[in-house]
Amino acid sequence: MVSLLQEIDTEHEDMVHHAALDFYGLLLATCSSDGSVRIFHSRKNNKALAELKGHQGPVWQVTWAHPKFGNILASCSYDRKVIIWKSTTPRDWTKLYEYSNHDSSVNSVDFAPPEYGLVLACASSDGSISVLTCNTEYGVWDAKKIPNAHTIGVNAISWCPAQMPDPAFDQRVTSRTALVKRLVSGGCDNLVKIWREDNDRWSEEHRLEAHSDWVRDVAWAPSIGLPRLQIASASQDRHVIIWSSNAELTQWTSCILHTFDDAVWSISWSTTGNVLAVTGGDNNVSLWKENSEGQWIRINYESGTAIQSKQTHNLHPQQQPQQPAHLQPSSDSEHSSNLSNSHLSNSQLSN
């Protein structure tokens, strides 16, 4: 059952699209259709510490950089801009850099693992991906663009975790060159693509085809020491697919996690726990975990709102008794409780 921890009055004038906690879990950044980004203390229910104004359209996503680069936040918006903000204290924010070289809405931003430096990837509806690299010494930003990454538009982007541990941690790993930067993106061409940087150029390494509708979100799992990597992708075709690679990342195999009742909007991996959180159009958040046989098991039952999903899920035998007995749709009202499903087929910005 969901239990309320805290409520924050964001005072946003419109819908809140995304919220992210910083590395220390102290600051919460929210972004909204009203074009502003607001910063809050995450544990005190008080007024916003700061309001960052700079976008002229809905702000879709915010993301925090690793604190070793300072207090840095990036936001992307419908107004085709990506703004990188920097603060000295949580109340004082300044625009560090503004990138406006996209021709359409920027839908997703993600900071690279800190091992690569201060690097930001941006995905836009103009079909291209930008990778912004900051030379922290001079504060100069350099942008590389992958044109035509996905036709119609790129919806989501995620970085491959740095596969080698931080060299500062173990001096014996000398080969810094072994750090190959990789990105995964999902777009309106129903594809998931893996990009790889070779000699300062980004090229398509793999093209993963399995979805039959727009890919809404992609997330690269944090590497947990297993000799393989995993990517989760969520699509409007109601599937979440887990892609697993071999050790050399040359082959990717797909496995459908589950067919949901509705389009799946977003997915996220827990930092170490190997738990995948899936939120979808059915007002539901489900948590999934892989067992030792490689099967994906749903580990929560009462998270969201739709009750009926519990009956269809592949329950772990041991968890079966926990299921309340009265869930069989017997009465009229049970039907109506199923009505929260929706099919979102087209939310492209038609400007």
């Binding site: 969901v2 239990s3 995450s42 359209g57 020491g225 170490t272 007002n283 539901n284 580990i299």
Partner: protein, 873 residues
């Protein structure tokens, strides 16, 4: 259900009532969730009570629900042009019916919100009659000419503006006219457009929408001359409506479509004029199971709930009424205090709209059947909420899972230096550990010897294959026939194996040899581990000793029965005589004996020839004890099998006790990994690795990843000191891989490194010689800087005699440890400096630089600014 339904509407000021019209007009009330449901419901898809109906008007062309807050009143427009008002209570009243002078179809109705008695009526075209009529229903049928507009025109649609002063009408298929009713000569503005259907004003009062066929036009009422935006779609529109709880969300139903189309209208201030754009979304309100069947083919009508956030009534296929709420926007976010994501969402409760605030009726929250999300808001009193619709609530996703989410516990443990002390340390005992983990650490502490975690597997030489080494190892095993002690007749002779390796293994398991056994038992007894002591005695065939222990234990226990009975049973134990009868008892007894150690005793005493499975698989007994037992009684091959099987099991279940067998090996890492997978406990895993995996395996990617992520956690909690301590510990493990120096000294004159020369000196050097050695740069012979207070050269020790002994011991450890106070430091402004300790002392009393004639206020240069982060936390 009775007949087809053409439309539905909520009552703006009766949030739980709605009306449906078609063949007949029915009034319903939505049930709240708590009410007991009657067996049958007239409407299958919505829990509601039928209240009454209105039989006078059938096949209404249009129906509008009024803003009256005292009773539900509707206006009904009929095909013959007659307009009826009814409140579902009073019988026929002629003053509440209006028939136009010329008979033609009524097309549209619009109630005024501010003056609830005012109704605007639109009619079809007639040559000699006007098409728009304003009727004040309390003042009888309209007669004055000022109430009639639009002679020989037709009204296509009607709506009032935000202030309810201006009537907006789409007329004659080509005009939108605005009538300001405050003026007597009413027509004030008109725009030529074909889009005259479905006029509606947005809740923010600025936007007006209209449609024709498949085209939606957006107008700005402040500058209505030109359309703001034009939106085309593939299908023809049937109904447009603004969501009353959002500023500018427009919904549209399209012909023969099962989707609701939503347009989120937004504007961006772009240079000179605002740029308006929209985000389109299509939603099917039907459950997934019907989505691909043809059960619901089309949506016919939509009515937004006046107050409940994004809630609407939908009419599907002319007979099914659905209650639907737009899917909530859910976000998840990870906090560094919880491993599971937090759920962030808008709180689902009624956002007080301005109109509702005027009405000031308490919001009766009819728990919508679509969302059990609202359960968390129903707990507190809903009317107290004054937060806006855009607040975010932070929710724990799942209470049950949260209890397993150890992150806060992990943090507490980190604060208490978990994993920094050996298990025998006093601080270890104070840690909030589960008994399981405590046991694991103790076992690991036992096994760890000679700076290695050598698992029993390699100690016992298992898996070396049929190499000569293995043969050698096995050849040295002595088997020994054990005799049961006197008084017990047992023809079964027990074979007991001993070898050097096995002895070592026993020791690593925490067992002791014959001579020390008594002391060990004594110790267990003192620790109140009575049954375990007894078990070990019995395993050593000291049945009498076990009896003694148990009977003594029984005296001390509050519930002695079990011990007492066991003691009696053991005292009369006679292997030959008892075993067969005991064996019969065993299967049932095993279920009833609670204490696993006692169970193991009986299993052992009643075993069949050489079949120790019952003891070996007794999961309640610690793995160390079982393996020790196996080392004592199992033959070489069986022992090897047993150990391998246990390792496999440990890997499978992520049992850290398995490390006892595997030690520092690949299997050990696998065990850690599967423990990690099962428990998310990266802390324990990393700390085990740091403490016990010290050799070649330490560089395994997984271990490094665990440690890196644990260090990351410490960082993210701001526990810098703890992290530093751990860093030092890790550094110590890898003494071989020494950190390269990060501080260099270079000569001010020649620029060559001074520190290189210092370190190149052979270490063991008496301090007296090194004091004088470096008064000048080794390459250019220019003097090194002096401490401005004691005037000694840099590189000289202070209090040399006192430190000499310490320094040498520190250097033996591979560290050149000089306390920071003995270092040199400089002011970065005036470049004067000296021994830190001296400088510190100086600046306690003085504010200016110690060098005479220098006025630099060196010490004030460093602003004592608090770390920004500290400030936050």
């Amino acid at each position: 259900m009775s007949g087809n339904v053409h439309g539905i509407s909520w009552f703006p000021n009766h949030p739980d009532k709605f009306v449906s019209w078609g063949q007949e007009i029915n009034l319903y009330e939505v049930r709240s969730k708590e009410e007991i449901q009657p067996k049958s419901s007239r409407l299958p898809y919505i829990p509601c009570n039928y209240l009454s109906n209105e039989l006078r008007y059938q096949y209404a062309r249009c129906v509008a629900a009024s803003y009256h807050s005292d009773q539900p009143i509707i206006a009904v427009g009929l095909a013959d042009g007659k307009i009826g008002i009814c409140n579902f209570r009073d019988t026929f009243d002629s003053s509440w019916e209006y028939t136009p002078s010329q008979q033609r179809m009524c097309t549209c109705l619009a109630w005024n919100e501010l003056d609830a008695n005012i109704l605007a009526i639109g009619h079809d075209k007639h040559r000699s009659d006007s098409c728009i009529t304003i009727w004040d229903i309390e003042r009888g049928v309209p007669k004055e000419t000022s109430n009639f507009f639009g002679l020989s025109e037709s009204a296509n649609s009607l709506c009032w503006d935000h202030n309810h002063r201006v009537l907006i009408a789409g007329m004659s298929q080509n005009l939108i006219k605005l009538f300001d009713l405050r003026q007597s000569n009413a027509t004030c503005q008109s725009i030529k457009t074909k889009a005259v259907q479905g006029l509606a004003v947005a809740p923010n009062g600025n936007y007006l929408c209209s449609y024709v066929d498949s085209m939606i036009m957006l107008w700005d009422l402040r500058a209505i001359e030109r359309p703001l935006r034009q939106i085309s779609s593939s299908r023809n529109h049937m109904q447009l409506a603004w969501c009353p709880t959002r500023t500018s969300l427009l919904s549209s139903l399209q012909r023969d479509s099962p989707y609701i189309t939503l347009y989120d209208i937004r504007s961006v201030d772009n240079e000179s004029r605002p740029e308006v754009y929209h985000v389109k979304r299509q939603i099917s309100p039907f459950p997934a199971k019907y989505q691909h069947s043809s059960k619901f083919a089309a949506l016919n009508w939509l009515s937004w709930h006046p107050r409940d956030f994004e809630r609407m009534l939908l009419l599907a296929d002319a007979l099914n009424i659905l209650d639907f709420r737009l899917p909530a926007s859910l976000h998840t976010a990870y906090s560094n205090r919880h491993k599971l994501p937090l759920l962030m969402q808008r709180p689902l409760y009624a956002a007080p709209s301005p109109a509702a605030a005027v009405a000031a009726t308490p919001v009766t929250h009819t728990a919508p059947p679509t969302s059990s999300c609202s359960t968390h808001s129903t707990g507190s009193s809903l009317t107290d909420y004054q937060l806006s619709q855009n607040s975010l609530s932070f929710d724990f996703l799942e209470r049950d899972l949260l209890e397993d989410d150890l992150l806060e516990e992990t943090r507490q443990r980190a604060l208490q230096d978990y994993g920094m002390h050996k298990p025998d340390n006093k601080r270890f005992a104070e840690l909030p550990l589960t008994p399981y983990l405590r046991n694991v650490w103790t076992t690991l502490g036992n096994v760890f010897c000679e700076e290695r975690l050598t698992g029993l597997k390699s100690t016992l030489g298992i898996n070396l294959g049929h190499t000569s080494e293995a043969l050698m190892a096995s050849s040295r095993i002595e088997s020994q026939l054990l005799q049961w002690p006197d008084g017990i007749n047992n023809s079964n002779k027990l074979v007991c194996y001993r070898s050097e390796q096995r002895d070592l293994a026993l020791q690593l398991c925490g067992w002791y040899f014959d001579q020390e056994l008594d002391r060990f038992i004594e110790q267990l007894y003192n620790n109140k581990e009575f049954s375990r002591a007894a078990m070990i005695c019995v395993f050593h065939l000291k049945v009498l000793a076990a009896c003694n222990i148990l009977s003594q234990a029984a005296d001390m226990m509050r519930d002695p029965s079990m011990y007492r009975i066991t003691a009696i049973a053991l005292s009369s134990f006679n292997a030959d005589r008892c075993s067969s009868t005991w064996r019969n008892q065993r299967s049932t007894a095993n279920m009833q004996i609670q204490d696993p150690h006692l169970r193991a005793i009986f299993s052992f005493l009643t075993m069949e020839k050489d079949n120790f499975d019952a003891v070996l698989k007794e999961e309640g007994v610690s793995l160390a004890d079982r393996v020790a037992f196996a080392c004592k009684y199992l033959s070489e091959t069986k022992l090897a099998d047993y150990v391998k099987q246990r390792i496999q099991r440990a890997i499978e279940y992520g049992d850290l006790n398995g490390l006892l067998l595997t030690g520092e090996s690949l299997d050990g890492i696998n065990i850690l990994q599967s423990y990690m997978d099962a428990n998310f406990d990266v802390q324990t895993v990393a700390l085990v690795a740091i403490n016990y995996f010290r050799n070649e395996h330490f560089t395994d990617n997984r271990i490094q990843y665990w440690i890196a992520s644990y260090l990351d956690y410490l960082n993210s909690w701001g526990l810098w000191e703890k992290r530093a301590e751990l860093d030092i510990k890790i550094e110590n493990i890898r003494a071989s891989a020494r950190t390269s120096r990060t501080v260099y000294l270079s000569c001010n004159f020649c620029g060559k490194s001074v520190s290189n020369a210092l370190l190149d000196e052979p270490r063991p050097r008496s301090t007296s010689t090194s004091t004088n050695r470096l008064s000048s740069c080794p390459s250019c012979r220019k003097p090194l800087p002096r401490c401005s207070l004691c005037l000694m050269h840099m590189g000289t020790m202070m209090n040399t005699s006192g430190n000499a002994g310490e320094a040498s011991t520190d250097q033996a450890g591979g560290w050149q440890l000089k306390p920071f106070a003995k270092w040199f430091s400089w002011c970065q402004t005036c470049r004067h400096g000296g021994h830190t300790e001296h400088i510190m002392q100086w600046f306690k009393q003085n504010s200016e630089c110690p060098v005479s004639s220098c006025n630099c206020r060196c010490f004030d240069m460093d602003g004592t600014k608090l770390n920004a982060l500290r400030d936050i936390s």
